[in-house]
Symmetry: none
Subunit: 262 residues, 2 copies
């Protein structure tokens, strides 16, 4: 019986970090390997396990190490992100054509857009939905292939789409920045698109929290020379501030209010 079997496996998942297919095979000699594979697939779908070669691993035993910056960043930077978003919103200009990048930083950003008449263009469906909520602004959704990784639109269609529009102010969020590599991301298509945007925009505003400084991802889409404003928090290294001023780039430092505790 399927339900019983899966219940047993589920319990096993609670006691062991890894279960091999062989093991399951020995445990349930009456069912075929394929069935057990499908069971594992099921647990992968429910998010309880992760399929690996030869079996599966129980997510309950997967611990993000304390030095893991990812989980830290996901949780702790909310306040900072919001502060950055707020500060960046100052650079919005009524009636101009504004490009808004994709990603969690930008999703936070659009929540702070004042209810005025703007003309937005974006590559992020979630951003587009948020922006068109108030009904004040015109919202242009860039068409193209939607990547499941980063939920952004890219590809030939997107490129073509962008070539047809003008951009006055562009708000972008890189995944990393270093003096040597400039502003970079981890996805080639995403990089291509951002490059076009930077190229077309009259004013480029970067939203980047300080945890991303000193990092270089594989694909660089522009350098400080191309950027007008960098909005970040107080964790920005001094060397980067200096370098930016040499390039004529303004740096805006926005910190989360000390008493912000939700």
């Amino acid at each position: 019986m399927q339900i019983e079997r899966r219940e047993i496996i589920r319990e096993l998942l609670g006691t062991k970090p890894f279960i091999s297919l062989d093991e399951l095979g020995r445990m349930f000699p009456d069912v075929s390997e394929m069935t057990l594979r499908r069971d594992i697939e099921y647990f992968e779908e429910t998010g309880e396990a992760i399929k690996v070669r030869g079996g599966c691993r129980s997510v309950g035993f997967i611990t993000a190490k304390p030095d893991d910056r990812v989980s830290e960043r996901l949780k702790e930077n909310v306040g900072t992100k919001r502060a950055i978003a707020k500060a960046a919103a100052e650079f919005l200009e009524t009636g101009r054509s504004i490009f808004v990048d994709s990603g969690s930083t930008m999703r936070s950003f659009v929540e702070h857009v004042p209810g005025k008449r703007f003309s937005f263009t974006t590559t992020d469906p979630a951003v587009a939905l948020e922006l068109c909520k108030d009904g004040m602004s015109a919202v242009n959704m860039v068409g193209g292939r939607l990547e499941s990784d980063n939920q952004t639109v890219t590809g030939l269609q997107a490129t073509r789409f962008l070539s047809d529009i003008n951009i006055d102010v562009a708000f972008l969020a890189p995944s990393g920045y270093s003096e040597e590599s400039g502003f970079s991301v981890g996805n080639f298509n995403e990089c291509e698109l951002k490059r076009i945007v930077v190229d077309k925009a009259k004013v480029v505003v970067m939203l980047i929290d300080s945890s991303k400084f000193g990092k270089s991802l594989p694909y660089t889409f522009c350098t400080a020379e191309n950027v007008d404003v960098i909005v970040t928090d107080s964790g920005v290294p001094e060397t980067i501030v200096k370098h930016a001023s040499l390039c004529g780039t303004k740096i805006v430092i926005a910190d989360a209010p000390a008493e912000e505790k939700k």
Copy 2:
């Protein structure tokens, strides 16, 4: 150099939940696949990633929240909309180009799409986001002006976008249907777009609950002759069933199960 490369991969692990070997191969064309495998192995050893078929997953993105998806699935209300959506999902064809309309009916519809490989195109950002969640299908977001009242993409850009793609099966949701006026909506641009879709699609499937029968909105985008399948519930008037069969349109009646179970 190994250290640099691994540092880059480490950064990437911080931005993406999954990295494929192909991806790494494209990123570092100068090293062999084997080297990248060894890199992944290294990250598995440090506990930063988990080796899975085709690449690796970043532990930072693995969230252990038990029963979340399971309980959700069990809670799902088995309503008419779900029944219609489920019945309509039968007309999905793996590997074909599928168009999905905008609106709440379609948002419900995409929740019932089986996790197979499809190629989707849609005018609804929320639909697009949902579809790309599982990462199985290719999702094309139609670009253009996003209307705030119905949250659908329309306009010249959208038209042009659609003209570039082929549609095998189109799933559409009209706002009203009557024998005299056919399938209609309340927005001119929306109508224009749907008309194009109907025109291009080899198979047209309409999702329409019976409350919409007998209604005619200002803009008609097609008639029963153009439609291959109508999926609705048992409230459909007899006259409409007759008329449909005259036009060679198949009617699928999907009702919610009488008794709720599980």
